[in-house]
């Protein structure tokens, strides 16, 4: 009871004073924010709030005074006049004057808000059902930002965390003290991108580009939401902005680019035999020559020769297997965690063609990647991806929502031609809510989720998809 009273007293006090800690704690007022614009928006809001309070005091004051002073018990008689043009003109002119007086400072702020010129960084923001995509136009960095609150927390099977429904897997990282221009659009329906601390709130409309900008003054995490009702999971597409120092931002861009390049190497690039041989020789000398010797002849009695060895000139799968997984109980280790897929492909190709082995066979990084995706791993990862990317529409049990999102149990596509199944997930279905997932999920994730759908919920088709099939789906085009 005592706390109740305190909260009540606190909120009254909070509501009546200028920005104080109470606002932040109880969220009674809008935040002051961390940009010049957000501060002027806040002070406009407070100015207008006090203007409203003053008007209310005057209007209700006159009203209550009149009611009290001219009450019936004192013998007051109501007047029966119909019009008084002078009074009407006065009560029209005064509000107009007040509105104009308020428009002057508002216009100044609005004009500033609408001036995105001289921005140093351009970020395109695209709304999807139900996630945001961020493209850093100057950096060629691009990613999707998905809700990261677990379904268990949403359905009360798990404790809800501090940032329940306001947390995402990838933050929009931005440098402080830099003018950033946002270009907003949407892929399907109208969304709206809102971060209160930046005082940025802008509709994202399919076919249109809206502009907005910000200069963040303080490093920190700023959370927001979609504020345009956009369908079933409208409440599940939060925005998280992470403002960092300029140096940290440069470092972040470098890391994310390196990651993307590493991925592109694996998925997009077609390696020639020569390239693999050159790369392979280096890997061999670094990682293998200590035991198998630079000339591939090994150390008899300890390390086998690879020159003319049954595995190195024989079955490719066995060769890949011993390098990827090693041979337990011997000095031959598993290299899957030590070398990248590209390095493993290169060194295996090298071993199959050096020292007179001359099989002429090239092993691609994709073959290596596929090796590590057996049915179990595809199903496990597939279930995860499904929960994250598909269950919102098709439902966790694959039953869909009749009339809106089809069920995936026993349907023609899911039970039938695997090509059609891969295609609808990779390329989506134009004109429907089924998006193209090729830019949102990796080939591994798509292979996993398609395999999962074909074998979950009693579908039991029994087949599976390899990541390399997905990677080369549209002729290798992204």
């Amino acid at each position: 009871m005592e706390t109740r009273k305190n909260i009540l007293r606190g909120s009254l006090f909070g509501a009546l004073t200028m920005p104080s800690a109470a606002f932040a704690e109880w969220g009674l007022n809008m935040p002051v924010g961390v940009t010049e614009i957000s501060r002027s928006v806040f002070s406009l809001h407070m100015t207008i709030f006090w203007v409203c309070v003053a008007i209310a005091v005057v209007v209700f004051g006159v009203m209550f005074y009149s009611m009290f002073h001219h009450r019936k018990s004192r013998g007051a008689k109501s007047a029966h006049f119909h019009e008084n043009t002078t009074v009407e003109v006065i009560w029209t002119i005064i509000p107009v004057a007040i509105l104009v007086a308020m428009a002057v400072p508002s216009a100044a702020t609005l004009i500033e808000m609408y001036d995105p010129s001289d921005a140093e960084i351009d970020v395109q923001i695209t709304g999807y059902q139900w996630k945001w995509k961020y493209d850093y136009l100057d950096e060629e960095v691009s990613f999707f930002s998905n809700l990261s609150t677990s379904r268990d927390a949403i359905y009360n099977a798990e404790q809800k965390g501090e940032n329940y429904l306001l947390e995402v897997d990838k933050h929009l990282v931005l440098p402080v003290d830099t003018k950033i221009r946002f270009l907003l659009t949407a892929n399907d329906v109208i969304h709206s991108w809102w971060v209160p601390d930046l005082a940025v709130k802008k509709d994202a409309i399919p076919g249109f580009i809206n502009e907005s900008w910000t200069i963040i003054e303080k490093p920190g995490i700023y959370r927001g939401q979609c504020t345009e009702l956009c369908g079933k999971d409208h409440g599940y597409m939060p925005v998280v902005v992470e403002a960092v120092s300029k140096e940290d931002y440069a470092a972040w861009v470098a890391t994310i680019k390196a990651e993307a390049a590493a991925k592109a190497d694996l998925a997009g690039k077609t390696w020639t035999l020569d390239e693999l041989m050159t790369e392979g020789e280096q890997v061999y000398l670094k990682a293998c020559a200590a035991c198998h010797m630079p000339n591939g002849e090994g150390l008899p009695g300890a390390f086998p020769a690879l020159k003319n060895s049954p595995i190195a000139v024989g079955d490719v799968a066995a060769h890949i297997d011993i390098v990827v997984n090693g041979k337990p109980g011997t000095a031959m280790q598993a290299y899957k965690d030590q070398l990248s897929a590209v390095e493993m492909a290169a060194v295996i190709t090298y071993e199959r063609n050096a020292w007179g082995n001359n099989t002429g066979e090239a092993v691609t990084p994709n073959q290596i990647a596929d090796m590590s995706w057996d049915m179990d791993r595809l199903m496990t990862v597939g279930e995860e991806v499904y929960g994250k990317a598909c269950a919102a529409c098709h439902q966790p049990n694959g039953q869909g929502i009749p009339g809106a999102f089809p069920g995936l149990v026993g349907t023609d596509i899911v039970m039938g031609d695997i090509g059609a199944h891969i295609d609808i997930v990779v390329n989506g279905k134009a004109g429907s809510a089924m998006q193209a997932f090729k830019d949102q999920l990796s080939p591994e994730e798509i292979a996993a989720v398609v395999t999962y759908e074909r074998n979950a919920w009693g579908n039991n088709v029994g087949d599976s998809v390899k990541p390399s099939t997905v990677a080369s789906w549209n002729g290798g085009e992204k």
């Binding site: 119909h82 019009e83 043009t85 009407e88 003109v89 029209t92 216009a107 100044a108 004009i111």
Partner: protein, 64 residues
């Protein structure tokens, strides 16, 4: 002609939303519909022009 200016006056008052009883009676005894339509169109156009000028003026001020 007199009736036209009277219609103009009434249309202006309607922009403000205030009208005297005397003028209302005048409108309904001597007013011609065509005068109200014409003054409505003219004043609406004038209003648009005024709003545009104000916006231009404000933006010009802000450029400085």
């Amino acid at each position: 002609m007199n009736s036209f200016f009277s219609a103009m006056r009434s249309t202006l008052s309607s922009f403000l939303g205030v009208q005297s009883e005397k003028q209302r009676e005048e409108d309904f005894t001597n007013g011609k519909p065509i005068h109200f339509i014409a003054s409505g169109l003219i004043l609406a156009a004038a209003f648009v022009v005024v709003v545009m000028l104000v916006v231009e003026g404000v933006l010009a001020l802000a450029q400085k």
